[in-house]
């Protein structure tokens, strides 16, 4: 599904990504972990075209998408949520999802009100799926932090993505919101969505992921099933001591 090969990216001399390579398999949940500054968010930004890599290849369904623009990557079926909440503050919750749906349908430039009402039902369905159906008419900027993150996932799902990237989906969430989000992520593979996520909450990572990729200083230092990685991680006691 996704194969990342030798991705590098520097910021004025600092090598944030120093040749990262790993795979994410179709229909699986893959977690990317690593200490702060390991390059997780940079990696996500490169994967979705928000940053251009200096080198390396990103094969999504055997097409190299390295260097493609964000809107092109989205249209190919790769959607994401952001670590810092990123919604359209002054639009309603429903409109936030509608904008994403219209974009996916190639109708962002449409002048007909009809296309808006056509996608309203589907938008409500998606809000229902992320548990925000009660907030459809509310301004997105007024939602709680956790709800904004859920809305972001809803917007990402509006793209009918085959691959969904979630950057710290539960950061700042209450325990209830975290549990709800975990439930949502767990259901996604069954709906045909492959998930790649970063997270600091190790209970969540080991509870959700089929595969774990460990980043450190811009390199992938381990990848495999949770049990294997835990065993490797045990060897690297210093590192796990910080994280777990």
């Amino acid at each position: 599904m996704l194969r990342v090969e030798g991705i590098t990216r520097s910021f004025s001399g600092f090598r944030a990504l120093a040749g990262v390579g790993f795979d994410a398999e179709r229909g699986r949940v893959t977690a990317v972990i690593g200490p702060n500054g390991a390059g997780k968010t940079t990696l996500f930004n490169v994967l979705t075209g928000h940053l251009k890599p200096d080198g390396g290849r990103i094969l999504f369904q055997n097409n190299n998408i390295a260097g493609a623009k964000p809107h092109q990557v989205f249209r190919l079926g790769v959607a994401r949520s952001f670590q810092l909440t990123n919604v359209f503050n002054r639009l309603t919750v429903l409109e936030n999802v509608q904008v994403a749906l219209l974009s996916r349908a190639g109708r962002s430039g449409s002048l007909s009100r009809g296309s808006l009402s056509e996608c309203a039902a589907r938008a409500r369905e998606l809000l229902d799926r992320v548990g925000l159906d009660g907030w459809a008419g509310q301004n997105a900027g007024r939602l709680s932090y956790g709800d904004q993150k859920l809305l972001e996932i809803g917007m990402a799902l509006a793209g009918r993505p085959e691959l969904l990237l979630l950057d710290e989906p539960t950061a700042g969430m209450s325990p209830e919101e975290t549990a709800a989000t975990a439930g949502l992520i767990r259901r996604l593979p069954g709906e045909g969505v492959t998930v790649l996520f970063t997270e600091h909450d190790m209970d969540l990572v080991f509870g959700l992921a089929d595969k774990i990729v460990v980043l450190n200083q811009g390199l992938c230092i381990a990848q495999g099933p949770p049990d294997e990685v835990r065993a490797i991680a045990a060897v690297q006691k210093a590192y796990l001591g910080v994280e777990a």
């Binding site: 928000h50 623009k69 809107h71 959607a79 994401r80 359209f88 639009l91 904008v99 430039g109 449409s110």
Partner: protein, 330 residues
Amino acid sequence: MVRPAGLFSSNAGVTAPGPYGGAWPSVGAGAVLLFLPAVLPDYYLYLMAGIFVAALLAVSLNFILGYGGLLQLSQATFYGAGGYAAALVLTRTGLPFWVVLPAGPLTAGVLALVTGWFCVRLRRLYFGMLTLALGQLVWALAGRWYAFTGGDNGISPIPLPGFLSSPRGGYYLALVVMLASLAVLYRLVRSPFGLTLQAIRDNPVRAAGVGIDVQKHQLTAFVVSGLFAGLAGVLHVVVAGSVDPSLLDWTKSAEVLIMLLLGGMATFIGPAVGAAILVLLSMVLGVYTGYWLLVLGLILVVLALFLPQGIVGFLEERLSEKNPADRAVR
């Protein structure tokens, strides 16, 4: 605060028909405007037509600034381009008026496409600075090229077809074109195109993240805005009968910006209200005396201190403050 249940009342959770209680008030206002020439003396018709022109110009700027979030600091460039195009076609060719009417917005639209292509690559203030710089370039060109544009003298008088040479003719053309343009712009704002534009305003990075080609969308909106500013420029020619470089000047752009701030950018109709107030004020104060810029400055200070959301924005806030479920009208 207690407020009476009137046109503006709505219950929490129930979708109100619109910010001004449906279509009937606007139909009523339209009817009044239609019959005003029967009772008003020519001077006031001229003044009203000036308000229509300014209203269209202000709403065209709000389309790109309030809804598009792009800091257009030089809207007068497209206003002037439309005016000059109409003036040149009228004075130098024998083409009929129905060719002149589209020539203005077309010229302004092409100019917006060319300048916008560069501008949308920049963000926020840098975008604004480039619009200003390119606008001043056009202004300098119009002011110096005596053989073509008449230089500082501008072009005057401009021959108008018979049906437009009376104040009443100008009034009706300005009214009809302004209302039709506002209707089109309103539809645009409420369309998927407009919603997407507002999404980009709120968060360009996220917009790209849901598959929107941000620069292309912004450029399209920039051209649409320039087109309608150009149309306002044609109306100016019809109403005033002359053009000169002050149409393109940055102080004119600043005046339009103040109309937006005065009326409020969060509402569709706010800028038109701001335009009306400013035009009336300029008349009361003796039409563009040397003190006009001083007056504009004072207005700006008062707005910044007491009415940051503009007059219409302020009224709407007061009217909906009892109703937390209401959202800001876009």
